[in-house]
C-alpha cells in the first residue's frame, strides 16, 4: 500500500522534483538567489535552475567542503546561496565547513540536503541521510526545516530564503502524497501545523512520516481512537506550545521520523514534553542501525516505520495513560 493511500491522500511527485520547481520559481523572483551543487543536479533537481539561470548556478564538483565554504563567501557578498547535494554528503563531508564557515557567525546560507532518510532505498546506507537532523542539530544557529508535501516544500523554500540566517532544508526522493488538499498550507517557521484533529493521543511526524501518521490515524479511527496529527515541519526552533498543548489535551504522544531515534525529532520533542507536561510517549524511527539496500517500502517493513508500526506505538502510548 502506498503512503497516504489509507488516509485517502492524493499521490504527488517526489519531493526532490517539487524542490527543483520551487527553487526555480524562487530564482525567477529573487535575483539574489544563487545555487551551488555538488555534481548531483540531476538528482537534487537543481538542473532546472542550471538550465534557466546558468550564470547563477555553479557546479562545484565532488567537493562538498569547498562547496559549503564558497557558499559562505557568496553570502558575505549579499547573495543568498542555496547549497545542495545529498543530505549525507553535505552533513558528513562538510560538517566542519558548516560549523566554521556558516554556523559560528550565523551566515545567511541555505543548505538543502536531498535524499534525506532511508527512502532513497536501493543505493543503500552509504548515501542515506539517517543522521542529518542530529548533525545539523549540533550547529546551534541553524533553522531546520523538513517539509512533508509539495505545498509545504514550496512554502519552505520561500521561508528559507526570507529567513535571515543559516537554514537546513531536507528533501527526499520518494513520492510523498499531498497532505494539504488545496495545494496550499500555512507555513510559519517554528509553528507546527495540526493536520488532523483528535483527542485520544497525538502523532507528531515530519517529512514523509506525516503521511504515514495520517494513514495510522485512519486505521486507529476505525477502532474508535481519534489521533491528532501534527506536521512538525520545523525541527528548530521547535513549536513548544503545540507540543505542550498536545500533551495537555491528548495525554499521549507518538513521534514518527525517517531518521535515527538518537538525536532526531522525537528525542527533542521528548525533552519538551518532559519539561512542560509529561505524558507517555512512544518513538517510531530507526533504532541504532544502518539499513539494507532495498526498495523503500521493503525497508519501511523491515525497520518498523510503517503506518502499522505507528498504530502499534499509538495503542501502547494510550494504554500507558492509565
Amino acid at each position: 500500500m502506498q503512503l497516504g493511500e489509507r488516509a485517502g491522500l492524493k499521490p504527488a511527485p517526489p519531493l526532490r522534483d517539487v524542490f527543483g520547481e520551487a527553487l526555480l520559481d524562487l530564482c525567477r523572483d529573487n535575483p539574489r538567489v544563487v545555487v551551488l551543487d555538488g555534481d548531483l543536479s540531476n538528482s537534487t533537481q537543481t538542473k532546472y535552475v542550471r538550465e534557466a539561470f546558468p550564470q547563477r548556478f555553479f557546479n562545484i564538483g565532488l567537493a562538498e567542503s569547498n562547496l559549503i565554504s564558497i557558499g559562505a563567501g557568496l553570502a558575505a557578498c549579499g547573495l543568498i546561496p542555496f547549497l545542495t547535494s545529498f543530505s549525507s554528503f553535505l552533513l558528513c563531508n562538510a560538517y566542519d565547513q558548516l560549523r566554521i564557515s556558516i554556523a559560528l557567525a550565523s551566515v545567511n546560507a541555505k543548505v538543502v540536503g536531498s535524499h534525506g532518510g532511508i527512502t532513497l532505498g536501493k543505493d543503500g546506507p552509504t548515501a542515506m541521510g539517517i543522521e542529518d537532523l542530529a548533525l545539523v542539530g549540533g550547529l546551534p544557529t541553524f533553522t531546520i526545516l523538513v517539509p512533508s508535501d509539495p505545498a509545504s516544500m514550496h512554502k519552505a523554500v520561500r521561508a528559507a530564503a526570507e529567513h535571515v540566517g543559516p537554514v537546513f532544508l531536507r528533501s527526499s526522493r520518494l513520492a510523498a502524497p499531498h497532505i494539504y488538499p488545496d495545494h496550499d498550507c500555512p507555513f510559519e517557521i517554528g509553528k507546527a501545523n495540526v493536520v488532523r484533529e483528535g483527542s485520544d493521543l497525538t502523532i507528531i511526524g515530519c517529512g514523509l512520516m506525516v503521511s504515514a501518521a495520517l494513514d495510522a490515524a485512519a486505521s486507529l479511527a476505525d477502532e474508535g481512537m481519534e489521533a491528532r496529527v501534527i506536521d512538525m515541519h520545523t525541527i528548530r526552533p521547535m513549536d513548544v506550545e503545540a507540543i505542550a498543548a498536545a500533551a495537555r489535551e491528548t495525554g499521549a504522544i507518538v513521534t514518527a521520523e525517517e531518521h535515527l531515534l538518537h538525536g532526531g525529532m522525537g528525542s527533542n520533542i521528548a525533552r519538551i514534553v518532559a519539561a512542560t507536561h509529561a505524558v507517555p510517549m512512544r518513538f517510531v524511527g530507526l533504532a541504532d542501525t544502518y539499513t539494507d539496500s532495498a526498495d523503500p517500502y521493503d525497508l519501511f517493513e523491515k525497520y518498523s516505520l510503517t503506518p502499522t508500526d505507528i498504530a502499534i506505538a499509538a495503542r501502547e502510548a494510550v494504554a500507558a495513560k492509565r
Binding site: 564538483g61 565554504s69 564558497i70 557568496l74 546561496p81 566554521i100
Partner: protein, 280 residues
C-alpha cells in the same frame, strides 16, 4: 582615525609599523597568556605590505564597503596579528587589543566573521579561507564588482584536503583576482614540515593545479609589494605567492625554537623579546 582608500606608507614607516605590530602581538599574547605569537611574527611583513603598502583598498569606517579588496586570514591562529593590523588600520581602537581572549571581548582566540569590523570570515579550523575567498570572487562577478581577494594560508594548513579542492576550483573558474599567499615558515605544530608531512615540491604542485606561482622573501616589504603588484597583471588564472619566512621572526630565541608554536611568551621572555625588537 579611519582610513579611506589606503595610501602606501614609505618603506621606513612600514618597517616601523612592522615593529609596532610585533610589539603589539607580543603584548597581546603575553597578557592573554596564550595564543600563537611565533606564527604571527612570520606573517608580519606580509600583512604590513598588504594593509600599509598600498595593495588593499579598504575603508576602515565602512568595513562592508562593497568594492573593498578582501583579505582573509585563513591561518586563523594568527588572529592577534589580524586584530593588531585592523586596529592600526583604524577599524577599532587599539586599546581594545589588550582584551584578547578575555570574557566578553570581541577579540576571540580565532577570528569570527564580523565579530570585529574587518573580519571577513570565520577561521581557526584550518583549510577554509581559500574556498571562502573564491566565494567572494564569484560573488564579485555576479555583483559586477572588480575587487581583488587575498587569502593568507599557513604552510601546514596546505595539508588540508579542502585547500586542494579550492585550488582546483579557483583555476577552473579562472579566478585571476584571487591571490593566495602561503606563509612558508617550514614548521608546523609538531615540528619541521619536511619531517612531519612534506609539502615539496610545493611550487610545482600549485603550478600543476593551474596557478601562477611567485616566490618571494616574506620579510622583504618592498619585494612583497612588487610581487603583489606583479600578480595583478596575471590573467585567466589565480596567483599563489609563496612567501619564504622565518617562524618567530624578529626574536632570536623564538626563531631558534619551534616549540613556541601555540604558546605565549612568559613575562620574562617577553621582556627579553621586547628588548630585541626595540634594538633591531
Amino acid at each position: 582615525m579611519s582610513v579611506t582608500l589606503t595610501q602606501a606608507l614609505d618603506l621606513q614607516t612600514m618597517r616601523e609599523k612592522a615593529r609596532s605590530l610585533r610589539l603589539d602581538v607580543l603584548d597581546m599574547t603575553t597578557l592573554a597568556r596564550s595564543g600563537h605569537p611565533s606564527s604571527c611574527f612570520s606573517s608580519i611583513e606580509i600583512m604590513t605590505a598588504l594593509y600599509f603598502g598600498g595593495i588593499l583598498r579598504y575603508r576602515s569606517d565602512e568595513p562592508h564597503w562593497p568594492e573593498r579588496d578582501r583579505f582573509i586570514m585563513s591561518k586563523g591562529h594568527a588572529a592577534p596579528l589580524l586584530y593588531a593590523v585592523l586596529a592600526h588600520a583604524g577599524y577599532f581602537d587599539r586599546e581594545e587589543l589588550w582584551t584578547l581572549r578575555q570574557v566578553n571581548s570581541r577579540l576571540e582566540g580565532h577570528p569570527i566573521e564580523d565579530k570585529l569590523p574587518g573580519i571577513e570570515t570565520t577561521t581557526g579550523s584550518l583549510g577554509k579561507g581559500l574556498s571562502v575567498g573564491l566565494g567572494h570572487v564569484l560573488g564579485g562577478r555576479l555583483n559586477n564588482l572588480n575587487y581583488r581577494v587575498h587569502v593568507l594560508l599557513g604552510d601546514g594548513e596546505c595539508q588540508e584536503g579542502q585547500i586542494w579542492e579550492a585550488a582546483i576550483a579557483a583555476a577552473h573558474f579562472k579566478a585571476d583576482n584571487l591571490v593566495a599567499i602561503v606563509d612558508y615558515n617550514k614548521y608546523q605544530e609538531t615540528g619541521p614540515i619536511s619531517r612531519e608531512m612534506e609539502l615539496e615540491p610545493f611550487a610545482e604542485k600549485w603550478r600543476a593545479f593551474g596557478w601562477h606561482v611567485e616566490e618571494v622573501d616574506g620579510h622583504e616589504i618592498q619585494a612583497l609589494i612588487e610581487t603583489f603588484k606583479a600578480v595583478q597583471e596575471v590573467k585567466g588564472q589565480p596567483s599563489m605567492i609563496i612567501a619564504h619566512t622565518t617562524k618567530g621572526k624578529g626574536v632570536s630565541f623564538v626563531e631558534a625554537d619551534y616549540t613556541f608554536h601555540g604558546r605565549a611568551l612568559t613575562p620574562e621572555e617577553a621582556a627579553r623579546a621586547r628588548e630585541e625588537l626595540l634594538c633591531s
